[in-house]
């Protein structure tokens, strides 16, 4: 996690405060899979659900592995698409 006093950080995932350097460290250790990066770093798991950072991570993975962007597997797009309050979920579903 980043420190407030740190300067010149390059933020990749602004929801979860994950920097480009942190992601590159994992990639350099051989983690070149978006799914694993997500589980290890929580990248893409904040309020925006990866809408901002996923294209950036995928580009980085493409660069590191020499594969074209379209061949980098994405993660599963699970429901819900956006954060929902637990109270709302606990209220159940209205089927009318």
């Amino acid at each position: 996690m980043c420190e407030a006093k740190n300067k010149d950080l390059i933020m990749m995932c602004r929801c979860e405060d994950i920097t480009l350097d942190e992601v590159r460290d994992y990639i350099n250790q051989g983690i070149t899979d978006l799914e694993q990066l997500k589980r290890l770093l929580r990248i893409g798991m904040g309020p925006c659900q990866g809408r901002t950072c996923t294209p950036l991570v995928v580009n980085e993975l493409a660069k590191a592995t020499g594969r074209p962007v379209k061949e980098i597997p994405l993660t599963v797009f699970r429901q819900p698409t956006t954060p929902v309050k637990l109270g709302v979920l606990a209220g159940g579903i209205d089927y009318e």
Binding site: D8, L9, L74, V76, R78, K85, V88, G91
Partner: protein
């Protein structure tokens, strides 16, 4: 279960046009939008559009949004749900919608996904300093809420959005220090770019942001020239004072619901990222699911309205609704779309769409 003939997700230009066309053919429509107003990004467009009369040239986006929204609201075949978020699409064809802290299940016969796009971000040192915004946020502040984001703006990106937002900032009395663009040429239409150039704003092509600086917030940025391979040229750094950095570096389609529905997707850089494969009716690989607007490929509001009209007509027609003019209406919209995408300006979009057809 709430049964609907057609559900439309997204009340921007594409969704509104789709709702009107489908309802006019006779279909009952449910239009869902997460905002508390209809119109999407159109309501922020205070500039005049151009093109041909049929594409509503010389009208302002905000006026088009008001007119379309009024038509939708007045149409008794259209039920409007604002402040409603589509949470997910499930394999049994059920859509869950959160509306005023309640979750409702909807099972539509046809679904038109018109969710639009999301802004892309850029990585550079200190890119999380307060004062760094996406262009959409700046446009919301200035054009919707009447709030200046700061005193002096560095705009990153000289596409249509970057240049138009720069001009709107000038109109609001905010200084624009410079516009920088990584590509060798300005992406915006000249009619827009000429206005900011006349106002004295320098546009640096082949430039990018090297780093932002500032203690508690942005006080400026170092920009640098790029060579043919988009690599920084040492010694060309220049510092630009600014308390706002506005990022306008493109959009990417908002496709979560399409993935959940199992639509076949393809990565097409010309269309902004992953987009659904679709046929000439704008129907995806999943029968009954249609797309329109930026979610099908990043383009602009005029094209989104045309695609929305087409998806609305086709979805309603597939349910058996018809009219004497259906065939000619369809042909007319297709001809207008082809016109919008013609010439050198439409080259990129034509190249992109060619890869995304079923």
């Amino acid at each position: 279960m709430k049964h609907r003939e057609i559900a439309i997700i997204g009340g921007g230009p594409a969704g509104l046009a789709a709702a009107l066309r489908a309802a006019n053919l006779g279909a009952r429509v449910l239009l869902i939008d997460r905002s508390d107003y209809l119109g999407g990004q159109l309501i922020k467009q205070t500039h005049r559009f151009f093109g041909s009369k049929e594409q509503r040239a010389s009208e302002r986006g905000i006026d088009i949004a008001r007119e379309l929204a009024a038509g939708v609201t007045a149409n008794e075949k259209i039920q409007v749900m604002t402040e409603a978020t589509a949470l997910g699409y499930y394999e049994d064809g059920v859509l869950l919608v959160e509306h005023h802290n309640k979750i409702t299940a909807v099972k539509p016969d046809r679904l038109i996904i018109a969710t639009g796009g999301a802004e892309k971000n850029l990585m550079f040192p200190n890119n999380d300093l307060p004062g760094i915004y996406g262009a959409g946020a700046v446009q919301t502040l200035v054009n919707v809420f009447g709030v200046k984001p700061g005193k002096k703006v560095l705009m990153v990106g000289a596409g249509n959005i970057g240049v138009i937002v720069s001009y709107q900032l000038l109109q609001a009395g905010v200084e624009v220090a410079a516009i920088i663009e990584a590509a060798p040429r300005i992406g915006a239409y000249w009619v827009h770019a000429a206005k900011v150039v006349r106002a004295g704003v320098p546009i640096y092509t082949r430039h990018t942001i090297k780093r932002a600086y500032g203690e508690q917030e942005v006080s400026g940025a170092t920009i640098v020239q790029l060579d043919e391979n988009l690599q920084p040229v040492p010694g060309t750094e220049k510092d630009i004072d600014a308390d706002v950095i506005c990022l306008s570096v493109g959009l990417t389609p908002l496709t979560e619901l399409l993935w959940q529905a199992g639509c076949q997707m393809i990565f097409v850089p010309e269309l902004g990222g992953n987009v659904p494969l679709r046929n000439e009716f704008l129907e995806t690989s999943v029968p009954g699911i249609y797309v329109a607007g930026d979610v099908a490929g990043i383009e602009e509001a005029s094209a989104a309205m045309m695609e929305g009209a087409l998806a609305g007509l086709n979805a309603a027609a597939s349910l058996g609704y018809t009219s004497e003019s259906l065939a000619s209406d369809r042909k007319n919209v297709l001809a207008q779309l082809a016109g919008l995408r013609s010439g050198p300006v439409g080259e990129k979009i034509r190249k992109g769409l060619a890869q995304a057809m079923l």
